[in-house]
Amino acid sequence: MYWTGLSPDEARESLANKDKSKKDKRMTLSKAVRSFVSDGANIGIGGFVNSRQPLALVHEIIRQGRKDLTLSFQSAGLAPELLAGAMALFPDRLHIRRLEFAYFAHEYAGISPMFRYLAENGMVAVEDWSNYNMSARFKAGAMGLPFLPVRSPLGSDIMKSNRSRTMECPFTGRTIGLIPASHPNVALIHVQEADMYGNCRIKGQTFTCPEIAMASQHTVITCEKLVEHEVVTAAPARTSIPFFAVDAVVEVPFGAFPAMCHDCYYFGQGHIAMLRQAAEEFRKGNKAGLESYYDKFILSAKDFDDYIGRIPYKELNLARQMESRSLELQKFVESC
């Protein structure tokens, strides 16, 4: 059995030897990526499809360049697609070796052309799992277990595509699946609120972000806003990721845009359509549009704020309004 990222024993050893004290972990995006995302890393990607995708971190990784990456996620769109596009355009700058995942597309906005491009050209090793499999693999890692039993998708070709096993349950005598833990080298997670120590308050669905953070060797958090530590300790049951599972905290407003972020902004639908269109044209042989997208929005941008500054204000404002208005009733009731 081979492990990508850390084996369970390596992950335990690394955490046992780590300084888990409550210290100020705020740093720049650039330093966070430099410190915790290495060539050869297995990267655990937080969020779900195009919700809370860690795009500020993805932009920075593309700017800095990384090689030989493994991407681990359950369902994702924009984060792996931007990395895949960077690999297709600039293979010397960014290289993805392997994908461990369940779904790679944009749901309402269709398939991910750059994924199709890499996969259909055999440029990347793929390992298919189901959403529950990938979520449970991170959960096994977070629980400190080498595997979890699962009942799905037994009998499918998915189980033949990956490192899962089946066995006879020693208690029931029935067939059961076993899926190995995933311990990425680094988790990239975007949340709404975090304090300087790394305690994260996720609003809406948590997806699998807490599990990915707790399974990974290192975790880099971007947050819409930093909050005072006292806000966290006043309602500790709302902390989704505890500080000692976090290595870096970076405040990046709009850090998931054009993905959506619950309670902050809805999909940047025009921007997603533009990017997807450029990617689809690349897949059909016309590279210019995608090159110019990367140049304008990522490579020539000094940092993520610079990129956000290049998005027309009305697009940002529309995304904010669509989200906040649709949540208004709910928030009003909650505040009573």
Binding site: S51, E107, F115, N131, P153, S156, Q205, E211
Partner: protein, 268 residues
């Protein structure tokens, strides 16, 4: 007296049929896209007590805030009873809380197995497939662990195949007795296949796909012609009731007002 729509598209018929298959007061795990539209339509018509579950973590939501564009969309959390993450949603499913899973697929075989992974030759061509599809997502899990599944898809010969390139979401395997149980699965398997041309079920003994009804304008022959394998035909096969005007109105004016999933052009 029911007031039927004078014209409607096959996709509209598909959504309406999906809605009508949903029983009130049941727990339904909603796949992305058309299942969300059908569930909302059912909630607005005959089944206000449906309890939707979304794989990103929301249970019991009302989709009154607008149609979600993703099962992870904040709109799926509106007025929910319970809100966690993916593991929780799939654990509910594995435990047995979900009555119906509502899923789609790119290809289906006579035993209700689905492919949403790749077109090509598995395992030889796995590393360089002819067409790479998005992958299982949660559909593979729903197909295994929901008590029953409803499958919704467009009816085209290339999608209805005797043998799939890749088995992503398991139905009745090869139709052999107790195949699902032997594989370790808990759910009973596919209950209905709802398409643009027919409503189908599965023969009780052989688990082979069977026409239960043809959509308005279709015949057993036209359905068979659009299918890449031979279908069984229920002796009581009937013509499916066309959409009501009100159903069509709700789809466009109350549910998918922006036309994200449901196209508006009239084809019939």
């Amino acid at each position: 007296m029911a007031c039927h729509a004078e014209s409607f598209t096959p996709q509209e018929m598909l959504i309406v049929a999906g809605s009508r298959q949903l029983e009130d007061e049941k727990v339904v795990f909603a796949g992305t896209g058309l299942p969300m539209v059908s569930i909302t339509l059912a909630q607005l018509t005959h089944a206000p007590g449906i309890i939707p579950v979304f794989e990103a973590g929301a249970v019991g939501s009302s989709l009154i805030r607008g149609l979600p564009l993703s099962v992870g969309d904040s709109r799926t959390t509106c007025k929910a009873d319970y809100l966690q993450g993916l593991n929780a949603a799939f654990e509910l499913t594995q435990r047995g809380f979900i009555d119906y899973g509502f899923i789609g697929g790119a290809e289906i075989d006579p035993y209700g197995n689905l492919n949403s992974t790749m077109i090509g030759d598995f395992p030889v061509g796995y590393r360089k497939p002819g067409v790479r599809l998005p992958g299982s997502g949660g559909a593979g899990d729903m197909a295994c662990s929901c008590t029953q599944t409803l499958i919704i898809m467009a009816h085209e010969p290339r999608r209805f195949r005797r043998r799939l390139s890749y088995y992503t979401s398991m139905g009745y395997f090869d139709g052999s007795p107790d195949a699902r149980k032997k594989a370790g699965l808990q759910g009973k398997g596919p209950y209905r296949v709802i398409t643009t041309k027919a409503l189908m079920g599965f023969d009780e003994e052989t688990k082979y796909m069977k026409i239960l009804a043809t959509m308005p304008g279709e015949t057993v022959e036209s359905v068979q012609e659009a299918t890449g394998f031979e279908l069984m035909v229920d002796p009581d096969a009937y013509e499916y009731e066309p959409p009501l005007k009100e159903e069509i109105r709700l789809i466009h004016e109350a549910i998918d007002t922006q036309g994200y999933f449901v196209k508006r052009e009239m084809k019939q």
